[in-house]
Symmetry: C2
Subunit: 139 residues, 2 copies
DNA sequence: TGATATTTGCACTATTGTTGCATGGATCTG
DNA sequence: CAGATCCATGCAACAATAGTGCAAATATCA
């Protein structure tokens, strides 16, 4: 199955495709970087903050996006791959946070190795971010 | 050189060892887990929030502690090793955030591999956290 | 169509992170 | 030791982020 439209993409995750949700999803698709709630607020200034907040929460709960906690301190969100379950180690990848332009990139091709955790530590999810300077920012 | 007392530990990082800073450092040494600003507030309720905030900031700037952004969303801090410079990849290690008890553990023995970043992405620091359930929390 | 469930918007509240300024104590210099 | 200077602390704000309760609007279902 190949998901072409945003509407199908939401339905596949059991999320009702409302107008607002479709627009937020389109924005996520278009964005190269992970976005924060305040990014959404700026983009959709006509919409209510709460709606955007809950849209992201819904996406998160249904596994449409994953959450990234970078050095900026504010939570960011990025689209998951089609069949992603956001579980460590298989579905987790590396992120890069540029401290100059404050963009957060997804590197889906850079997976995470399996760490040898101490006994009885049960992993479920992962948050892996390298901070530095991205290729668009001058040294 | 072996740093025995908290006072020597602060001086080695060029931090004036005031009474408050010594007490915060002692608390950090005693804590097994990484702590947040609000943890400090609870522990030192007589002190001003700002002082505690700036104490952590000073520690961070002088490389005495490193910053961890886990899935809790709030920034946490943990003591660095003696000669740590907090730079990726050498001085970065894995952390574990327990979503049940909300404790954040340092695993200094679990280092971070060097990732093959895209061209002109210059790494400086790293934030690596696995979320799950710790050995103290029942399944 | 009417009943029901879900989504959205508004009004708050809480928490975290942060700054400016005044005070007080430590340190330095003559 | 006196005076000047520097730094740490405390107080009072403020800003941004995160989250909740409720009522109105909208969609869905029988």
């Amino acid at each position: 199955m190949n998901i072409n439209t945003s509407e199908e993409r939401l339905k596949a995750r059991n999320i009702q495709p409302t107008a607002m949700r479709l627009r937020v999803l389109t924005y996520l698709v278009e964005s190269q970087a992970a976005i924060s709630l305040s990014d959404l607020e700026k983009k959709f200034s006509q919409a209510d903050r709460t709606t955007l907040f809950r849209t992201l929460k819904t996406y998160l709960e249904h596994g449409l996006v994953h959450q990234i906690n970078d050095a900026s301190g504010t939570t960011k969100y990025a689209l998951c791959a089609e069949n992603c379950t956001c579980t460590y180690p298989d579905d987790i990848h590396l992120h890069f946070y540029c401290s100059s332009c404050e963009q957060t990139y997804c590197f889906p091709h850079l997976g995470i190795p399996e760490f040898d955790l101490p006994e009885n530590f049960k992993p479920a999810r992962g948050n892996f971010v390298i901070t530095g300077q991205c290729s668009s920012c001058p040294a």
